[in-house]
């Protein structure tokens, strides 16, 4: 046996002994889908808590419009599926194909919002938000995306994301979609092109911030980085 191989064997033996010495019993993490449901339930709880502050009659009227209803449903579904995908990709050995799961709901969400824009151009008398209201929406969206993202990243850190940027991006999508769904009861306007654009910018911002901050936080779990 060569000196190099011998020293490698010794290094491995020492590391194995050190890790065995450091062993403590661990509680197995629940299934990724169950953890995603836990986060989703927390977001849902926030929505239920906020509901008494919303104008429920106006909400009922808006939900009678198919594209607004579908857009809201799409946002909720995107939040749930993106959270499931984020938790799945945070566990070693799970397929990265899970990252495709939120694509269809996101397409539904964005597509229905886009259809709403077309309707607003065709139908006269559409309620258009002014710049102040738009700014308020953005503050609402970013304000709720932040705690939802932080909560999600903290939960994801308990696992071991081997692709931290992908997991963080999925977490960002989940948080942005959840914030958009939370905004629905307080959003007294029909969808417009500027509204849709503002929402898309916000989603991009949240995902980007998650990749930058969340990706680093998640990769800090790795011993190399």
């Amino acid at each position: 046996m060569s000196d190099g191989a011998l020293s490698a064997g010794l290094r491995h033996d020492r590391l194995v002994e050190a890790l065995a010495g450091d062993l403590t019993p661990v509680r197995r993490l629940p299934a990724p889908s169950m953890r995603a449901l836990g986060w989703f339930a927390a977001a849902l709880g926030i929505g239920v808590a906020l509901l008494p502050m919303a104008d429920l009659d106006a909400l009922r009227l808006r939900m009678a419009t198919p594209d607004l209803r579908i857009a809201a449903f799409g946002a909720v579904l995107t939040a749930l599926t993106a959270a499931v995908a984020a938790f799945q990709t945070s566990v070693p050995g799970r397929s990265t194909a899970w990252a495709l799961l939120p694509l269809a709901p996101a397409a539904l969400w964005i597509g229905a919002s886009g259809a709403g824009c077309l309707r607003s151009w065709i139908v006269p008398g559409t309620d258009l938000p002014d710049a102040n209201e738009m700014g308020g929406c953005l503050v609402f969206l970013l304000g709720f995306s932040l705690p939802l993202s932080v909560g999600l990243v903290l939960m994801l850190r308990r696992a071991c994301p081997l692709r931290p940027n992908l997991t963080a991006a999925l977490g960002g999508l989940a948080a942005a979609a959840a914030a958009a769904a939370l905004l629905v009861p307080f959003h007294p306007h029909d969808a417009t092109a500027t509204d849709l654009l503002a929402h898309l910018v916000m989603v991009g911002l949240v995902i980007g911030a998650n990749i930058l901050a969340g990706g680093r936080l998640l990769s800090a779990r790795s011993p190399r980085t």
């Binding site: 062993l23 070693p92 050995g93 071991c160």
Partner: protein
Amino acid sequence: MVLAGVTGMAGAAGGALWCAHERPAIRPAMTLDDRLSAAMAAAQDGDTQAYRDLLRDCLPVIAGMARAQGVSVEAVDDVVQETLLTIHKARATYDPARPFLPWLRAITQRRAIDRLRHSGRRPQEVHDPIAYEAHADAGPAPGQRIEARERERSLARAVAALPDGQRQAVEHLALRERSLDETAHLTGRSKGALKVNLHRALKALRKTLSNDKTLSDDGTLADDGAVSKGKGNRDV
């Protein structure tokens, strides 16, 4: 041939042989994945010895996976170390209801890719790309150490399944390379009996290993009894 094989492997296989001999219940039906999965489940509950065995069993597996990923021989040991550290940190994420090897492979591949990226960032000067591509790899092929370990295990099982006298003859004379006098003194058997036992043991091992026989749960040969019951194969 078998003697050469047996004695040639004595140094490397010795540990595995004695370990296998000391463990009363050998379960050949248990695959590598089942064994590692059970060990990780025990490690999650705090079983230090199971964890130590698991990590040691993982060493050749990780090295083979890293080599298959394209990691150079010189860098494999670093990838093994980094993978062991990640296994330790990520052990709570393993679900014993799922196979172990895909979990391990995902971690190893990621650490191997990290290593390849790291080495790819360092400047390399290659004047002759064809010579670089055609350069023979000095290291063992991926999985070679795993195959060697499997061969050691099957040999250990075959030796453990021999009748006591034959097993003692193989262990003392062939594996530990003791003299007939020493062995006779240690075992209390005559030198003639030891010679006959060794001859019969080698004949049985040759037959067992060439046919790749399977073992039953109690560690005896299950299919034809050539070792334990056949004519001319009893201990003397």
